[in-house]
Each structure stands twice: as structure tokens, then as C-alpha cells.
């Protein structure tokens, strides 16, 4: 009876939580083995650096990543000087100065990643009316997370016969409605990896998705390692509390 009670309560919670997965109409996502999955999962820094290279050379031409600062890149293993150099490639508006004028200066590590367009309207004008979404939280804001990002990046195929693709749109099998305004962004050898990894289309998509997951959940490594310690501690504590409970109650039963 108690088990039933527990099961039904749990079932209520699970049904509720599983809802979004059932609600959205979309193709089944291919599931990848990400290094950051599971309780022991951690980011692969080399992969994140490759992913950042993809973002820097391809994605960031249209997409912003406003919630991430250049200083955060130290988590990927970049040195302070490297981060300064990466930031300095972009110009930001600062000011006003002593004369009351705004001025341009190179970005600093404390600046957030400089967006490719000054505002949403400018982004739309440059992109055929479509607004490229900010990528800071992409893996948390889409059902399927990094698997979804991978599926979108590799989902550009020929439209099935009879499917009308509108002007300026592209067919993507993973996108809801299958019409996406983003042109196919990656192809084999679209980047030349600094670490010599062979840049197949699949490799690029995987690395980009892993990097976006880091951008959305930069705390994941700490969260997982701290979580293991906390649960280990609680396991021992609870076992001892149970033993004590048995001992104290021994004369009541």
C-alpha cells in the first residue's frame, strides 16, 4: 500500500516533467554520448576549445552570446594573455570620456562577448528579416539540449518531394516546421582546427554543441564534483542516523 502511494506520487511528478518531451512535435533526436553526461560527467576542455573556435569563426558572424564574458574563457584553458588577445579583436563603445564623447576601444576580458550587430533590428536587416537567436542559453532553452543543436547543425537535407520551401528559407529535418532561415552553417573542413583534429561536418557540429552547452551551464563541472561529495556525505550520515534510530527504538518495538 505504501509503495503504491509512493509510486503514484512519483508518477505524478514524472508525468508532469515528461510533458514537454511529448508536447512538441518534432523528429526523434539522435542521442550522443557527451563527455559531460551522467554523475561523473565533465567537460572535455580540448573539445570546448575546438567548439569555441567554431563559434568564433562561424556562429559569431550572426549570433550573439551576450551572457558570456571573455574572462569566462579561462575555464576552457585559455591563458590571460590569450583571452586579452581574443577580446581585443572586437571594438566596443565606451564612455562618455572627460570631453563628454563616446569612444571606441578594444574589448577587455571583463566585457561580455561582443554581438555581431548593434541591435535586433540591424540583425534582422542583415539576415533577411530573421533574428539569429542569442546562443548563451541555447542548450537549456531547447528540448534535447546539445542533441538538438547537433541535429539542427547536421539537419540540412534536400526537401522531400512536394514540400514547398519559401524564398530565403532552408529545409532542416530537425527544426519544428522544417523551414529555417539559417543557411547551412557548416560543412567538412569549414574550420581548420588549431589542435589538428580532422574537421568533418559531424566533428564540427559535436564540438559546437558541446561549447554551447558550456556557455549555458558553465557551472556543470563544479556542480557534478561537488554533488558527488555532498551525496557521499549524506549517504554515510543517513546510514548512521538509521543505525541510531534502530538502536533508540529497539526497546519500543
Amino acid at each position: 500500500m505504501m509503495r503504491k502511494f509512493l509510486l503514484s506520487t512519483m508518477a505524478a511528478a514524472f508525468v508532469a516533467a515528461a510533458t514537454p518531451a511529448l508536447a512538441a512535435e518534432k523528429a526523434e533526436l539522435e542521442h550522443h554520448n557527451w563527455s559531460f553526461q551522467g554523475v561523473f560527467g565533465q567537460y572535455d576542455k580540448a573539445q570546448l576549445r575546438r567548439g569555441f573556435q567554431v563559434f568564433r569563426e562561424i556562429c559569431s558572424n550572426c549570433h550573439s552570446m551576450k551572457l558570456v564574458a571573455y574572462r569566462n574563457l579561462s575555464a576552457l584553458g585559455f591563458t590571460e594573455d590569450e583571452i586579452k588577445a581574443i577580446a581585443a579583436e572586437k571594438q566596443v563603445t565606451d564612455g562618455p570620456n572627460d570631453q563628454g564623447d563616446m569612444f571606441q576601444r578594444p574589448a577587455k576580458p571583463s566585457d561580455h562577448i561582443v554581438p555581431p550587430f548593434p541591435n535586433d533590428q540591424a540583425a534582422r536587416v542583415a539576415n533577411n528579416g530573421a533574428l539569429p537567436p542569442d546562443l548563451s542559453l541555447m542548450t537549456k532553452a531547447r528540448e534535447g539540449g546539445p542533441d538538438y543543436v547537433y541535429a539542427i547543425l547536421t539537419g540540412f537535407v534536400d526537401a522531400p518531394a512536394g514540400f514547398k520551401v519559401n524564398d530565403g528559407m532552408y529545409y532542416n529535418q530537425a527544426f519544428p516546421g522544417h523551414q529555417i532561415a539559417m543557411p547551412p552553417p557548416i560543412s567538412d573542413e569549414a574550420v581548420t582546427y588549431a589542435d589538428g583534429t580532422k574537421a568533418t561536418k559531424e566533428q564540427i557540429a559535436t564540438d559546437a554543441a558541446a561549447f554551447l552547452n558550456w556557455a549555458a551551464e558553465p557551472e556543470l563541472d563544479t556542480r557534478h564534483s561537488l554533488g558527488l561529495k555532498v551525496l557521499g556525505f549524506l549517504l554515510v550520515l543517513t546510514a548512521m542516523l538509521y543505525a541510531l534510530k534502530r538502536k533508540i527504538w529497539a526497546n519500543v518495538h
Binding site: A23, L137, R142, H224, L231, V252
Partner: protein
Amino acid sequence: MSGSQFNNKVIQWFDDRLPIFSMLQHSAVEYPTPRNLNYWWNFGSLAGLMLVIMILSGIFLAMAYTPNEALAFNSVERIMRDVNYGWLLRYMHMNGASFFFVCVYIHIFRGLYYGSYKAPREVLWWLGLVIYLTMMGTAFMGYCLPWGQLSFWGTTVITNLFSAIPVVGDAITTWLWGGFSVANPTLNRFFALHYLLPFVIFALVFLHVVALHTTKSNNPLGIDVKGPQDTIPFHPYYTIKDLFGIGVLLMVYLGVVFFLPNFFVEPTNYIPANPMVTPPHIVPEWYFLPFYAILRSVPDKLGGVIAMFGAIVIFFFLPWIDRSKVRSAKFRPIYKQLFWIFALVCVVLGYIGSQPPEGSMVPLGRVFSVAYFAFFPLLWLISKVEKPKPLPQSIAAPVLKGASVGHAAQPMEKA
């Protein structure tokens, strides 16, 4: 309350002037508790623990949160990224709400099963329901604060319910919003109230405990305590049992916080609120889903709102709807089945509430909404017809079984 003697002179001096230590001694140490409480009785103290966790994590979150429509979303992300262990505070608070409701739902259903709403505990039951209603309001307003897409649209949908009130509905909705749509004034006041209400809950919990300690705990047999042989002191027996329960709850709760922190969240809420874009599917948090299903099952807007609120209000009358003198479902063969059917109906309604209202979900929602409300007249009927099983003579008798007959046969001192 007075009369406790303490060896420590300082404590005695203080206690003679303000009897805090006597009170603690009285209600947390000596407090006579039925000896047969099972683990379902842990969930009251567990809900109390969750309340404390929510208040503490919430206070620290409020130090870094900004309730402004242009800044709220990014201030939450700043907590997640730049505040030391901000992600831990935020994930504890966000998932804490779900675990608070899990504990409270189990606590309520335990009360239903063992008849804890019956005389002399009606006021205790009412206070519990008021706590539950206040929690729902607090949780609803808290969900608005991250200012994601579902925060905005969930708030819009639910506050719009008040427009169903005849004549003054629209005026009330405008007054609630502080404008003509959900906007900055709404966010500001929701933050203010979201900070206030937990302390109201805390005060209500205090009254709940005072009422509990006046009528004393019910127990799985549902029979009255007949004498000291039926009870054991709260400390150390139930303090250690509650501590063990806390250990188990923390493992599950923190397991989710550390390893599945977004388990209960819709991904859509990580998209900043946009009044110009309606998300395809607006769903409330899981703990509201059964009531959401009832709301949508009534074709009339006002009728739906009345049904939804009625689904909770009717519980205030439960002590008189159920006319049986026997408390525990253990000894009520028909009520026991009715209880499990009702629990199942609630779970199914929750599932229906999570689905888009189309196809088979519409008639299913109506059938199960009727089944939900049918529980109460059925209970009223069967509670007179039902023939309860024979009740044990005392709590001590079945617990001690044959092994210590001598003990159970002792003359009752107070009964």
C-alpha cells in the same frame, strides 16, 4: 507550561522570566506522541524543513535579484554565473519548490487516508489547507520572477482568470496587474508578495503546530490515545526518526539539484519573456496541473474558475462530508478503495493538465473532473453505509502484540 526544573542556574533564571526552555521541554522533548506513527508521519516535519530551506535560499537570492522587466532575466543568469555558488542557491530554490509540494501533497494524502481531518482536528486541518493555498500563491508569484517566456505567459493566463468575475472582472484584473497587461508593475508587486508570503506561511505553520500539540497527533490506527502506555516522548524517538527522514529527503532533493537541476522546468522558460511571441504550449508547474485540468474541462470561463477553486475549498468541509466515526482507512474497507481511486484520479488529472487540450484529452478531462468531485458525495453516502472492521482496544495492544501482554494489561493511569 511552567514547572520544568533545570539544573543549569542561568537557564532556570531565564526560564522563570520567559519560559522558552519550558516550552521546548514541553513540546519538543516530553511531548507525548503515539508510539505507532509510521514513516508517512515524517512528511510534516520534512515540509517544515523545505520551508526553512526555501526562506533561507530565497533571502540570499533576493540580495542579487532585480525585479525589473528589463533586468530580471539577466539578473537570474548573473546569479547563475557570477554570484559565488549562486547556481547552487538558485537550483536549490527552484527545485525546493517542487520538493516542498511533494512533501505537502504526501502530508495531505496521509491526513486523508488516516482521517486526520476528523474531530477534534478540524481546525488543524483548516490551517493546513490555508498553508497549502498560501503556498500555491507564493509558488505562482515566484514562477513569475525569472521573467522567462512561461513566467510571463503563465502569469498572463492565470491572472486573466479573474476577468471571469461578472461586471468587475476586468477592473480587478487591471488592478492586479497595475496596468493593462502583465508588465513591470506586476513583476514588482509579485516580488514584494513573494518575499512576504513565506513569513505568513511560517506564522501559519506555527499555529498549525500549536493546534497539533493541543489535539495531539493522530496515528495509523486512528483511535484515541488511552494512556501513557500508548505514547512515547517526542525526544529521542521522533527526533531521530525525523532526522533519518531528513537524510533520505536531502539525498533525493540534492541529487536532483546537483545532477538533474532542470528536471521540473520547461526549456521555454530559458527564453526571455516576450509579450509579442506566445509560446505554442503554456503549462503551469506540475503541482498545479490537476487544477489546471479541471479549469479547462468546464466549457464556461467563470464556471471553470469556480470549479478550480471549488476543488480546493471543498476540502474545508471534509470533516462534515465524511460522517464516519472511524478515522483510519485501515478499518474502512469501502473508504480505502475510494481513497485510492481518488488519488489515481488526481494523478490522471495531472497528466491531462499537462497535455494540450485537444482530441481525447477534452472528454477525458471532463470525465475525470466529474470523478474528482464525485469523491465527496460518494464519501458522504458510504460513510454512513460502510460497516467498519472492529477497532483495536488501544494503540499499545496491537503494537505490543502477545509478547508483552503484561505491559498492555497494566491499569490505565489517565484514561
